[in-house]
Symmetry: D2
Subunit: 142 residues, 4 copies
């Protein structure tokens, strides 16, 4: 989970905390979701105003929690596509302290490309594949 | 709700949206809460690591919703203390589009100063009163 | 805020709490929203699967916080329409301890009937007006 | 992920949904968290009013998403301890449609027993081990 070409900063909100005084575990998924969507937007793959055009659904997620995330702590989320399959792709995430890059949590997800209009999984659109391969410098099998 | 000496930027998260595709109404309170806490921190009134030292509790809130808040829209929250009573004070808020200052919602709240250790309301601490009066240029009766 | 013909029970979730150990203030709006939608469903006014058919948008909300809401506390939300205007109506809410009916918070909201297809406010549909008047035993001017 | 001795019902809230009209992915963690805490309470292991006495922290989570969770759908979360280690234990979860038991998602987590006062991991307290082994009919190595 070394280096990322894409990072998105997140402000820890008071409303993200739970009675233990640190980031509630469910918010880690919110942070990863926000980084994932901003990644897709930054590659120009999500141009529509309609959320039903995003075309990816979450099939699986794994999170490893390493250190509590605190209020006032500057945080960034690294996101990277690590595999492009036929109808699915993998992303990994790293939630880090922005000051020193220390990893506070990491995660990975399997995402499935989906056509909301027909309600069916679809192959990764060719322009998505090309844009991601180019950005991540992935080889064909990667 | 004209001008504010304090603004706090907020990123609209995908996780803040609801099925109508815009900011869920409950999140307006989260945004105002975040601005309120950052206001207090910016005045140096909240130095402890313990959230139980904040010492203010929300007694009343009013929100007027003017325009939907959209994903990707840059947003800032203006916050200002408009009244310092004996054991309570008032804050007003404006949720605005950061690009042009257009107001998307506004709100006001009554906040009560509270000692969590004793479980009782307390007069506004003198250094809070002084710091807020100075920052807001409030007169004694203000 | 005396009596309600409609109550909806809500389970306080650990994820609803904040570092002060009780219900975060933004969740009061979530609880009132949930009661409002269940009220509309219970009157048979919301039959579609599409959330864009609900046809009401929140224009204003007021909440008065009376006692903290705690984890494990059984809670119900009373909801009632108190006024039917031309293109808007008012609802009041009471968040109560289900065991003894003690009020923990109350609120009111102004709701505007809206046609999402045309993007315009619309008069309250006659069958909504009739159903609500009948349920609440409101008179024509009420 | 066959059978559970403990189920907790969850009401899907409008505020849990996202622009795709179904349960936002982060809420699955909220639902599992709620089931986990109610499991611990139901075994009498969490008697204090202080959330800092819970004594377990989340080290890892895996979720597999199978079907969207919809508004109005009655949902229950099965929770079960599957392994009791020295300083950690495993729980598995199943989010199911309450009407027919159909699994909508499942998950597992590694939980670490923790002493908030000293800030250190601690062995699973003997009365926790005994209560969980008895409830789950786990053998010593289980």
């Amino acid at each position: 989970m070394s280096s990322f070409r894409f990072y998105h900063p997140i402000e820890v909100r008071y409303g993200d905390l739970d009675p233990q005084g640190h980031l509630n575990n469910a918010r880690y998924l919110t942070y990863m979701e926000q980084a994932r969507i901003q990644y897709i937007r930054s590659l120009g793959l999500w141009r529509s105003d309609s959320f039903l055009d995003i075309g990816i659904i979450l099939a699986e997620i794994i999170i490893t929690f390493k250190s509590p995330v605190l209020f006032g702590q500057p945080v960034r989320v690294g996101a990277r596509v690590t595999r492009l399959g036929n109808k699915s792709f993998d992303m990994v995430y790293s939630i880090e302290d922005s000051r020193d890059g220390r990893e506070l949590a990491n995660g990975s997800s399997v995402l499935v490309t989906y056509d909301y209009a027909s309600g069916q999984t679809i192959p990764i659109p060719p322009h998505w594949r090309a844009a991601i391969q180019s950005f991540e410098q992935l080889t064909e099998g990667g």
